[in-house]
Symmetry: C2
Subunit: 330 residues, 2 copies
Amino acid sequence: MNVAVDAMGGDHAPELVVQGAVDAVSELGINIILVGHERRMAKALSGYPLQDRISFHHCEDVVRMEESPLKALRKKKDASIKVAFDLVKKGRADAVISAGNSGATLAAGVLALGRIKGVERPAIAAIVPTERGPIVLIDVGANVDCRPSQLFQFGIMANAFACSCLGMKDPNVGLLSIGEEESKGNEQVRLAHELFDKSDLNFVGNVEGRDILSGKVKIIVCDGFVGNVALKLTEGAVEAMGRVIEKELMSSFLGRAALMLGRESIYKFIRKLDYEVHGGAPLLGINGVGMICHGSSSAKAIKSAISIAVQYVNNRVLEKMTLQLKTSKY
Amino acid sequence: MNVAVDAMGGDHAPELVVQGAVDAVSELGINIILVGHERRMAKALSGYPLQDRISFHHCEDVVRMEESPLKALRKKKDASIKVAFDLVKKGRADAVISAGNSGATLAAGVLALGRIKGVERPAIAAIVPTERGPIVLIDVGANVDCRPSQLFQFGIMANAFACSCLGMKDPNVGLLSIGEEESKGNEQVRLAHELFDKSDLNFVGNVEGRDILSGKVKIIVCDGFVGNVALKLTEGAVEAMGRVIEKELMSSFLGRAALMLGRESIYKFIRKLDYEVHGGAPLLGINGVGMICHGSSSAKAIKSAISIAVQYVNNRVLEKMTLQLKTSKY
């Protein structure tokens, strides 16, 4: 299998991206095509033992984080994220990983590979760590306003992904709203509720914000505005709480002693709710495999994202998703 | 000052509500009118030393948590929350506190007292604890879909409240969106951005989910769907993290030792991000003073909410808000 990695995307590119790719090669036995500026990639790779399975694909440009995705892609024909998806289109790669501009990754994926037949809107699904293991939150930013049928498709796509790549079996699906009663929420949510109710999915009805991190509901569907706020709030909460607890402990003698003894456990708690374990957010609904990583991704996060992409390909998620979309009535 | 407390609202009513009222009386020197079933209130109060400043206002009914607010209010003319707001309407009370059905509290407040002149939609503002002190998140559930002008009014009302009741001085105001760039977000947010930009508020532009708990932006404006998800997610996150960290610490010998030594600091961390300190969410935009408390409010939370209502009245927030709404152009 060949995975195209956008080596220029992310706050720590190309160094940590390359390191994550190296780790993935040794762990997963796949081939990696690093897409980006050859000289910079070669320099980043130089510290590692010779890797037969890693090749370079040179390109000049990169879409920067702050750029408008569509404008940048129109202007920069040789941008790494565009070139990476073109490799998939040409059959030379099976999947794309990028920690760069997520809007550009989404747009480049759709432009190069198109959508799965019947999909109205591709979406970004985040794998959110909780105390009961990972859950899938979809959409986390691709679509700010969603029709009920789109929300319903997000549920079907996330279900296929979660079963094939996260080892879930008939995961329960909830619709994010502001009250558990069917009548609660906005118009889109109320109508989507009816579609889910009639489906074969293991639908549990509306869930609330507090249910996201409890981990009891494995797939949570919402529009990309709400999902993006929720995802970033969760990230911010884990960080803020890590800081607050450390400060509290450091402020007393007993606390400092406790921190010395419990440091390992306390950081394990933060790691448990840490995004690096799952690394990337799959782009669901495009006719191919793409993973979006956090801009500040570590090497471990990149490696994890590659690992999920490999399962995505190996477990033929695209085929399953296409079939499930076709057989679902809405 | 006379504060009407809905003694029948909340998971621990009337016991903890009454206890909170008793504490408020001794701490704040105000009068409390407990509204609810007299026999049950008298029983809950019986354990406390004689309180001259507490009186009963008997009523038979209560709107239950799971009831539809408007239907319940139409049917139950003698519901405690309705009767409490009627006391304000009749000039016999200055403010209402309820830990009951929040939709019914909002509806009863609007029905009895009406809106401040010019206010399109009243909103619920949550006081969210962060590592840098409290911030105000508005709206957290009153309005699922909001016009740009409504979002703008939420900002003005929250500003008046934060300055008068939380001691803030020219607090900065952010618009919750999914990217810091002005072009990001949905249509409502983009248009509201323009209104805020032209205003006298200390507007800092769009903020993201991760900014909520950082506490750097003191007033964060969003529609009630997004705000409700964010608020409940924050509550859920604090609880989940408390559980995860305790479990981690308990799972190793050093961790258990650390927990013994650091218990105080660790719980202080949870308390720091705990809602009880601020207790209630003010109902902004109605022509009167109402505080909505969490259904699971402790006595401390009830007392805190009463304390904020007292400041609301004493600092003439209604007048200031009315003036600011009148002089703001949009």
